[in-house]
């Protein structure tokens, strides 16, 4: 996927002027946030489960090579294949070669963010294979030729009128005068359209929420059941997953599942939680003939052993997006690449470089709400700060900002100088205000005064006033 993260500010500006988007973003507040809060409150052991979930992933990441090899062994024992892919290109090639092997013409897809990361749809289309998204949200944005704006609700930026418009444009074989005003009508039409595609597909690609080392299983959670149809009906099932999805045991996956849906949508469990362990066995009634796991690294193993390792605990629940006031203001597309919100602000620079994605970890007020709700207790603000440190070390930031900061730091370390300069600042601000209490414009702080009044200091500084006050008390006592 082509990144526009570099023009984050411009993207954000456009997003904030987009009325339908703003309305859609407003819904998050009363939807996901409330539901998560209630779900967490209903489960007394929720906080303890978060700790356990964190420990499971910490342990796995510390022994990642071991668990990945164990997972592969189990997949092979079950008759499947694991494709180790260092880069996005490797993963695309691996998928294409499996598709070609079975002469695939159409591929159905469950929702996969890794699919977005490697741009699999465009790549398959370029090679004459039609990808069909089967998650309703993904289907809608595929028709609109867009990318997801939220990791669990990819079409959250789209309203129902826009969906109806996309359906009329695509489903031209249907009666043009049909009613498409209500969500149930839209849903029924999508379902109808999807049926034939499920049956016609040669290959089904799904993502994975977990890979289980002890059994060689992949796990997906969905609410629509589309994932099950994608992975059981076609002759070939390809699981596309990044390597940090592995957990040691079924028990571990169960523990993390208990915090996943609650954090994401506020459900106790997703409607479908599906475990796939290899291809169809001799006495199975259905299932694919082949089972492939495309295991993607794409920069993740480089995060191991760095201050960004903890990011690999992420289970893509989206809670940090839902609770982020910056995401809430600008939506997912402004972030310019696959991942948005706080998790994107940390992960994206790891995957596409801080030079490209420098805005993302900077565009945060460090309010800490993301860390507060992260089921895996990932210290997201801390890691955004680490990115800022890397930027500062590499001198990526503008010279003016850097120099200003260094000068300020110089002054702060010298109290005598600091007192003089703050005294001077008080004087200057007061004189600019001509005796008033506030300033509407301040050349040095345009970012502030473009939207807000600037207060004029009350008088001399507190430390100076306190000294004078103490002196006065002393004099009174002596007198």
């Amino acid at each position: 996927m082509q990144s526009t993260a570099r023009r984050f500010k411009q993207n954000a500006h456009e997003a904030m002027a987009d009325a339908p988007l703003q309305k859609a973003l407003g819904n998050i507040k009363h939807g996901f946030i409330q539901k998560r809060r209630k779900a967490a409150a209903r489960l007394p052991e929720f906080e303890a489960l978060r700790d356990q979930a964190r420990e499971i992933k910490n342990h796995t990441l510390a022994h990642l090579d071991f668990y990945l090899e164990r997972f592969e062994q189990k997949v092979v024992d079950n008759g499947g294949t694991v494709h180790w892919c260092r880069t996005a290109e490797d993963a695309r090639r691996a998928i294409l070669s499996v598709c070609r092997l079975v002469g695939a013409k159409t591929v159905t897809k469950g929702k996969t963010m890794i699919g977005e990361e490697i741009g699999i749809n465009d790549f398959l289309a370029e090679h004459g294979i039609t990808p069909v998204e089967t998650d309703l949200g993904e289907y809608i944005i595929q028709l609109r030729n867009e990318t997801p704006s939220h990791i669990i609700a990819p079409a959250i930026h789209v309203n129902k009128e826009q969906v109806a418009e996309a359906f009329r444009k695509e489903h031209t074989h249907l009666e043009p005068g049909r009613l498409l005003d209500d969500p149930p009508q839209l849903l029924a039409e999508a379902r109808q359209e999807m049926r034939d595609k499920f049956l016609a597909a040669d290959v089904g690609i799904t993502g994975a929420n977990f890979l289980i080392a002890e059994t060689g299983s992949s796990v997906i959670v969905t609410n629509e059941g589309n994932g099950d149809l994608t992975q059981t009906l076609p002759r070939v099932h390809i699981v596309l997953a990044s390597l940090e999805k592995v957990v040691p045991t079924l028990e571990d996956a169960s523990t993390i599942l208990r915090v996943l849906a609650r954090s994401a949508t506020g459900q106790e469990f997703s409607v479908y939680t599906t475990f796939s362990t290899g291809a169809r066995r001799a006495d199975d009634l259905d299932g694919p003939e082949q089972y492939h796991v495309v295991l993607l690294d794409n920069g993740r193993s480089d995060m191991i052993g760095t201050e960004f390792q903890e990011m690999l605990r992420c289970i893509r629940c989206g809670a940090c997006l839902n609770h982020c006031p910056v995401y809430g203001a600008v939506g997912g597309h402004a972030y310019g690449w696959v991942y948005s919100g706080p998790m994107g602000a940390v992960l994206t620079p790891s995957l596409i470089g801080i030079g490209e994605a420098g805005h993302l970890p900077n565009a945060s007020s460090f309010c800490g709400r993301c860390e507060e709700v992260c089921p895996m207790r990932i210290p997201l603000p801390k890691m955004m700060r680490h990115w800022r440190e890397r930027e500062f070390e590499r001198q990526i930031r503008p010279t003016v900002a850097r120099t200003g900061l260094r000068l300020w730091a110089f002054m702060v370390r010298r109290p005598w100088l600091y007192r003089r300069l703050t005294g001077f600042a008080v004087h200057m601000l007061a004189s600019w205000a001509h005796g008033g209490a506030r300033l509407q414009r301040l050349p040095m702080a345009k970012g502030w005064t473009a939207y807000r009044e600037f207060p004029v200091p009350e008088g001399s500084t507190f430390v100076d006033q306190w000294r004078a006050h103490q002196r006065q008390i002393l004099e009174e006592e002596l007198a």
Partner: protein, 271 residues
């Protein structure tokens, strides 16, 4: 030892020092009323957060080293700010984790440092203040105090003890106001959207006065309220708790308004 007065250093914070000394005096009064001996070390400047949050770790460590020195020897260090107190409590030890000698001093300072209101309640055990305000207020939870130090009920408990005060809960009181230190000038448009939301919620409460425990947030929300022409007073929570409402609220001080503009007052030297 228990009945001896603890020696408390007041860390005014750079914003209070420069913009709103009233908060410093209010904090001092609250501390004294809570049985503390208050000192204001003159060498205090800033906790270093602007450098820290902009990735300048080296300068942050240097500034932190100065702060550690400036506040050595006091029983407690108290700041009328969750943000600055959290910087010292939560982040200073982390800054020096590779430097065992300094780490010890940083941890020592961290253990002695508190946010003002929670110090009054949690350390000094006060559940009430002696103050009066006949009017309605609403309270914004500043992010750092709330999430890094667990300051939530403490200010509400003390505010409920203020005679005559009518406390209205602020919808989404835990959502960031968009200040975020240098964030508000690095991403002003996004910051503006966030403070717009905050102002909408503040107005929804119908309260006459907005309170919070951090001057950064207060200046931001005040600045937006005034730009929009909304007449809601803004004060630091310490001012109400210390009963210092005789001073004008934030941004309302008109020091030399009484001086006629003509003839020019240039000859008169005013303090």
């Amino acid at each position: 030892m228990a009945d001896e007065k603890p020696n408390v250093a007041l860390f005014a914070t750079c914003l209070v020092d420069l913009f709103r000394p009233t908060v410093g005096f209010a904090a001092a009064r609250l501390l004294e009323d809570a049985g503390c001996e208050v000192s204001v070390p003159h060498v205090q400047t800033c906790c270093g957060q602007p450098a820290y949050n902009n990735g300048d770790r080296k300068d942050t460590r240097r500034i932190a080293a100065k702060v550690i020195k400036a506040f050595a020897g006091y029983d407690y260090v108290v700041a009328p700010s969750g943000s600055c107190a959290a910087m010292i409590r939560r982040h200073y030890p982390e800054l020096f984790k590779d430097d065992p000698k300094r780490a010890e001093a940083a941890q020592d300072l961290a253990d002695r440092t508190y946010e003002l209101v929670s110090f009054i309640t949690d350390v000094r055990g006060r559940r009430a203040v002696v103050a009066r305000h006949d009017g309605s207020c609403t309270y914004h939870d500043s992010c750092s105090g709330l999430r890094e130090l667990g300051v939530r009920e403490q200010p509400r408990t003390l505010l409920r003890s203020v005679f005559g005060l009518d406390l209205h809960e602020l919808p989404d009181s835990d959502v960031c106001c968009g200040f975020g230190g240098t964030f508000c000038v690095k991403y002003p448009e996004i910051s503006n959207r966030m403070v717009e939301e905050k102002v909408k919620n503040v107005q929804e409460t119908g309260a006459e006065m907005l309170l919070a425990g951090d001057l950064g947030c207060l200046m931001n929300i005040w600045g937006k309220l005034r730009r929009d022409g909304v007449d809601i007073q803004v004060r630091h929570v310490a001012e109400v708790l210390a009963g210092m409402l005789d001073r004008p609220p934030i941004g309302e001080i008109k020091p030399k308004r009484d001086v006629p503009s003509w003839p020019p007052a240039s000859a008169s030297v005013q303090d």
